[in-house]
């Protein structure tokens, strides 16, 4: 198990390095240098002397490979640079915003699992029924709706019309502030989980071992509980893992809509203000989170299904 974990972490290192390289190159080589974006205040080009001084200060007059080496060296010590705008270390900015983002993502995923998995099960246990049709209409609608629109509608109904929940903000970080953003973010993974669960259960229901269990006289409840659910879990877990990564991306829009102080809203604000170190740092953290979740899912596979070995 431990050797599997170490091997898996080592396998991830090249991907992380490649991501760092892409993020670095994207903001270093492409047209529109960092300095010109920093000094671009909409009133035309800045004084060339000022730009030259800024280049020196930021070490941008060094060749790209030296800058990349320096960036990697700093990254290894956990230094993601200093924000152009706030002059605060990016690591500190990200640390402050990590918890709200994690709260939002986990709450959205809990909503998705609690609603999506039973919805898929109900649909699969009675294929072709009204329950199946309704579940799948809900699922395909959930995948087609724009999150910010759904968020606006929920905000209008539950916050502004009914006054049950706050319309935006983090407040004291309590549950009532979390509900609307989490439901908004959780709708599309919920829909995907419902469809995945339905497809997985339908396939497993026709498997030989399920037929054998039934022919042995096992009750339907036991068949579903011991054979169907356990086998469907691997596929459901894969979907959950992949959706965690997607949620990190989609959280950007939801955080911005609900003024949620997470990494997503930091990323958007930094992009709009062209705060490159903050953009690079935010993307790096998002990718690390995504890779870590995938690794965790790989470990969980073996726990759920002993046939999957860590060899």
């Amino acid at each position: 198990m431990l050797s599997f974990l170490i091997r898996r972490i080592l396998q991830t290192v090249p991907t992380v390095l490649a991501v760092v390289l892409v993020i670095f190159v994207l903001f270093s080589v492409v047209p529109g240098s960092i300095v010109s974006s920093m000094s671009d205040d909409g009133r035309g080009a800045a004084d060339p002397q000022v730009m030259e001084r800024m280049k020196k200060q930021l070490g941008l007059d060094d060749p790209v490979y030296i800058r990349f080496g320096a960036y990697i060296a700093k990254l290894a010590t956990g230094d993601l640079g200093t924000s152009f705008r706030t002059r605060e270390p990016v690591t500190t900015m990200l640390a402050k915003r990590m918890w709200p983002t994690l709260q939002l993502i986990f709450a959205a995923m809990i909503f998705a699992i609690v609603i999506g998995v039973p919805l898929g099960f109900i649909a699969a246990l009675r294929p072709g029924s009204i329950a199946d049709t309704i579940s799948m209409v809900v699922a395909v609608s959930g995948l087609s709706i724009a999150k910010f629109w759904l968020g606006l509608l929920l905000m209008y109904l539950f916050a502004l019309k009914l006054g049950w929940l706050p319309s935006f903000g983090y407040g004291d970080g309590g549950l009532k502030y979390l509900i609307l953003p989490a439901v908004t973010l959780g709708v599309s993974p919920m829909a995907l989980l419902a469809r995945t669960t339905r497809a997985a259960v339908l396939e497993i229901m026709t498997a030989d071992f399920v037929r054998t269990a039934r022919s042995k006289g096992m009750s339907e409840t036991r068949v579903v509980k011991w054979h169907v659910m356990r086998n469907a879990l691997v596929l459901i877990l894969t979907t959950i893992g992949l959706q965690f990564g997607a949620l990190m991306g989609q959280a950007v829009v939801v955080e911005k809509l609900f003024s949620w102080p997470g990494i997503g809203s930091l990323l958007v604000d930094s992009v709009l203000q062209r705060d490159i170190p903050a953009v690079q740092g935010s993307i790096f953290v998002v990718v690390l989170f995504f890779l870590a979740i995938n690794m965790l899912i790989d470990v969980l596979y073996g726990v759920i299904d002993p046939r999957i070995r860590y060899a």
Partner: protein
């Protein structure tokens, strides 16, 4: 949902969106940008203003109709670029194998490690807002799934008798890929492309909503919703109609993709998600 129903409803919704986009100048009542009149500001939906008017007195119906052009252009063009990149890389990697296959695999893993909206956001940060930037950002960030499917199809197809026969007949690599392999993997590629188009329409709307896509006053559904956010209590129709347009277009593409999958890729029916 029944198989035929997905295809018919999805196809009809997508055809409607295409029709609206193509004939927008004739279907719109006013110019979506220039015809502002403060005397008509924030009129609710009526027989004169079908979808109401915004704070500048512009006709929301005309703006939604013109918005279809931007959304569909971005959806179709960016997904076409993604499909071309994905198929080219996947087909050549599967066919040639070796170091090129390893390189393409590495590149695909890298793309899968960065959420596509985040990657698109980073590219928009560098290129700045606008239609061209949007097309580049969304066209370069969502090809990995197509690439995987094209590579897997190539690996299973290249040992087939007709491919071997083509090789014996002296066909070159490029000719075999284009005339023998590509037509046999088009089914799943079209399905992924259709579903990806829906994703691109949503991504365009999201980026425009964040202020990084199409900038006001040009009528993109996402930027219209961004403008409407602050007036949700006083003028909810400003949010309802552009959002509904996005929903119906993406719903149409998703249903169409599902329906096409059942026809073009029947093997996947049982593992449909």
């Amino acid at each position: 949902m029944k198989l035929g129903a997905s295809l018919i409803i999805g196809g009809a919704l997508f055809a409607l969106a295409i029709f609206v986009g193509l004939f927008a100048p004739w279907l719109a009542h006013t110019d979506p940008v220039m015809d502002a009149n403060l005397l008509n500001a924030e009129e609710p939906p009526s027989w004169i203003w079908w979808f109401g008017t915004d704070a500048q007195g512009r006709d929301i119906y005309s703006r939604v109709v013109h918005g279809a052009r931007i959304s569909l252009t971005v959806g179709i063009v960016s997904q076409f670029v993604n499909s071309v990149i994905g198929v080219t890389l996947g087909l050549t990697a599967g066919y040639w194998g070796g170091w090129w296959d390893d390189f393409v695999n590495g590149l695909t893993n890298l793309m899968l490690a960065i959420p596509s909206l985040i990657f698109a956001l980073a590219i928009m940060a560098v290129l700045g807002p606008g239609l061209t930037s949007l097309l580049i950002a969304l066209g370069l960030t969502n090809w990995s799934f197509t690439c995987r499917i094209a590579r897997a199809s190539t690996l299973s197809l290249k040992s087939q008798g007709y491919v071997q026969a083509a090789r014996v007949l002296g066909y070159g690599d490029l000719r075999i890929m284009i005339t023998q392999l590509l037509p046999n993997m088009l089914g799943p590629i079209i399905v992924i492309g259709t579903l990806g188009m829906g994703g691109a329409v949503l991504a365009e709307a999201s980026l425009s909503f964040l202020g990084l896509g199409i900038r006001p006053p040009y009528p993109s559904w996402g930027s219209m919703l961004s403008e409407a956010r602050d007036q949700i209590t006083t003028a909810p129709w400003l949010s309802i109609f552009p959002g509904l347009a996005i929903f119906l277009t993406v719903l149409g593409l998703n249903l169409l993709g599902d329906g096409l999958r059942d026809i073009l890729d029947p093997q996947s029916r049982s593992r449909r998600t």
